[in-house]
Symmetry: C2
Subunit: 227 residues, 2 copies
Amino acid sequence: FIKLRDIFKIYQMGGEDVVALKDINLDLRRGEYAAIMGPSGSGKSTLMNIIGCLDVPTSGSYHLNGQEVAAATEDELAAIRNREIGFVFQTFNLLPRATAAKNVELPLIYAGLPPEERRQRAAEVLEAVGLAKRGHHKPNEMSGGERQRVAIARALVNRPSVVLADEPTGNLDTKIGDEILAVFQHINDEGKTVIVVTHDPDVAAKARRTIVLRDGQMVDRAGKKIK
Amino acid sequence: FIKLRDIFKIYQMGGEDVVALKDINLDLRRGEYAAIMGPSGSGKSTLMNIIGCLDVPTSGSYHLNGQEVAAATEDELAAIRNREIGFVFQTFNLLPRATAAKNVELPLIYAGLPPEERRQRAAEVLEAVGLAKRGHHKPNEMSGGERQRVAIARALVNRPSVVLADEPTGNLDTKIGDEILAVFQHINDEGKTVIVVTHDPDVAAKARRTIVLRDGQMVDRAGKKIK
Ligand SMILES: Nc1ncnc2c1ncn2[C@@H]1O[C@H](COP(=O)(O)OP(=O)(O)OP(=O)(O)O)[C@@H](O)[C@H]1O
Ligand SMILES: Nc1ncnc2c1ncn2[C@@H]1O[C@H](COP(=O)(O)OP(=O)(O)OP(=O)(O)O)[C@@H](O)[C@H]1O
Ligand SMILES: [Mg+2]
Ligand SMILES: [Mg+2]
């Protein structure tokens, strides 16, 4: 379902190269629930952005559902991102001048849903993340953890087949964090693929499989490079 | 040293009021090392912003080092913030078009330090947070945890007497998070006051005292309101 082969991501910056990912080889089945862990700067967000079709590798191949993503047109990529993938960004990336509800409705606007159905679905998913009464507030009128939950709600509202969450509980207390993870588990029980980047071993424990990065490479639990 | 009496913070929004803080009474000694915990939305960042002179309460009084902050002039407040207080924001608030080193030098520019000394100090504190080689990169060329560490470095570079850190390890793995906490402990050993907002009980355990908020109020460990 997700097949990464020999993936490299290298940022060329003036005289130096920053190797964000190297030698990444990874197979993920449909319906997988995986956690990605590793030190700050080890390449986790970069890997997520490539899986989520938000970024392209410098070299290597990425097959999603049998299709080589590098060969896809801009329109095909946009359609994949909107229909199939729900992405929770590490820095939320909410529209500052739109209310929480409008932010959450955005993927449904792209999907062409009528207004009443959009409002209904946005309200449902905001309730699921504990923000039922805050839909009419803007991001800068909310706490850090509330904004994180709006970003989570937006990623889930289109019922995507792949949920990619980059440190979704970083700004949340344990209780609400567990509620969010229960939502992810429920989604995974329905057969959807869930991939979570986390620094928290308790969060990784909820996944069925853990992938560990160090300095841009995959390593096993002893820290030795996997090939 | 820090004395909050009957602090309220109420946001008036159209027809409704959001009570972010109510009945806050708190004494913090000079050299205290305190953690503030509580659910998402419970008022932690709001409390930190008031302590850090970045926001004013709706009612109540705040004495800092014997001076009533509400009675201070704009210039006096700016001087306090620049000389006495180092603030790590939950959302980092870095200048996107400046390098990490320039971001870290900013408080020293306000303090009037000459360029060579600024560069030296910025390099020292960037090394202390594990970013020795990244000073010439901009925030959008860095990972989430790297940006968080630039924000931490900037808060510490002017050697403030009060360090206020709003969830400083939220984007960091355990190893680098522990290194940051060791830096805070070292600063506290020198007699400086350190206050950390955190969702992580392991981080709170490093402080000498924990303050718990729920729905804008201080509660004891059983969850009962403190008066
Ligand atoms: N500018 C604002 N206008 C209206 N309400 C606000 C504003 N800023 C914060 N709030 C509300 O005040 C309450 C406390 O917010 P605060 O940011 O202090 O919470 P917090 O404890 O830091 O939460 P988190 O752990 O999620 O960061 C929240 O309900 C929040 O939505
Ligand atoms: N646009 C960019 N230009 C140059 N280097 C970059 C860029 N984006 C990321 N990097 C670097 O690539 C490496 C991997 O970054 P990435 O964001 O994937 O790390 P991460 O594992 O998500 O870290 P964190 O846990 O701190 O969020 C880091 O060293 C980072 O500084
Ligand atoms: Mg990241
Ligand atoms: Mg906060």
